[in-house]
């Protein structure tokens, strides 16, 4: 494996790690349930995405043919992550969880 290939791979892995970390950090830093939902559902899609691209490139260079399992993982992730986020938000609304006082807008129209 050439050295610039290693450079690209380490860049992708570091980006992935940083975004996954920021996503989890959101859980600790943000104020209420609804805003906390945003961290893990989004900052992690790019994080996991670049880790998977790195994995795909690495294993394709190992001489055992192109590795395409990662595309499937991405596909399943993009299908399931929004659904779970939506259900969590719906459950939170149903339970009338407290929200920060800065939050505007009401939710009666969908009740």
């Amino acid at each position: 494996m050439s050295s610039w290939m290693e450079l690209i791979l380490s860049f992708l892995i570091l980006t992935g790690a940083i975004f996954t970390f920021i996503g989890s950090l959101g859980l600790a830093r943000l104020r209420d349930f609804y805003t906390r939902l945003h961290g893990p559902t989004k900052a992690t899609t790019l994080g996991v995405g670049s880790l998977l691209v790195a994995s795909s490139i690495y294993f394709s260079n190992q001489g055992q043919g192109i590795s395409l399992h990662e595309i499937l993982i991405t596909l399943f992730l993009f299908i399931t992550a929004p659904v779970s986020a939506h259900l969590l938000a719906k459950a939170a609304l149903h339970q009338k969880l407290p929200r920060t006082k800065e939050t505007r807008g009401n939710t009666d129209e969908g009740a």
């Binding site: 399992h69 929004p82 129209e109």
Partner: protein, 164 residues
Amino acid sequence: MSRRLLPHPLLTPILAVVWLLLSNSVAPGHILLGLILGWLIPLFTLRFWPETVRVHKPWALARFLGVVLMDIVLANMSVARRILGSPSRLQPAFIPFPLALESDLAISFLANTICLTPGTVSAQLSPDRRTLIIHALDAPDPDGVRQEIRDRYESPLKEIFEAC
């Protein structure tokens, strides 16, 4: 007759491709098995998905997916910046979004897209399917968010799935 034998013509090739990716090979045996699975699974899951799916403009769908992928990358950047910034200065909001879409698939596509893109999560669909409540992480201007979702996501989806 063909409707009963092949209820979702689009699902068959998709499932076959997913099978080929899973087995990571393009041997003729796997292609055949993939096609058989792609034919049988829609037959068995027919009750979960009674609507026939019609994509009117495949190229518009491809362009839409491209836009969404770009937006996911940008969304990650902006959410990351907001998490690292000061959380007390955020202005979260619940935004009711009046839907112009009618088919189930188009609505679920829109809800999924909203969950994947900049600082918004779709929280609830009203029972009459007219309003989608969206929670935005930081929305100083709720009307702007509504306008953006309408222009960027809803109108292409309407064109793709509900063209008349």
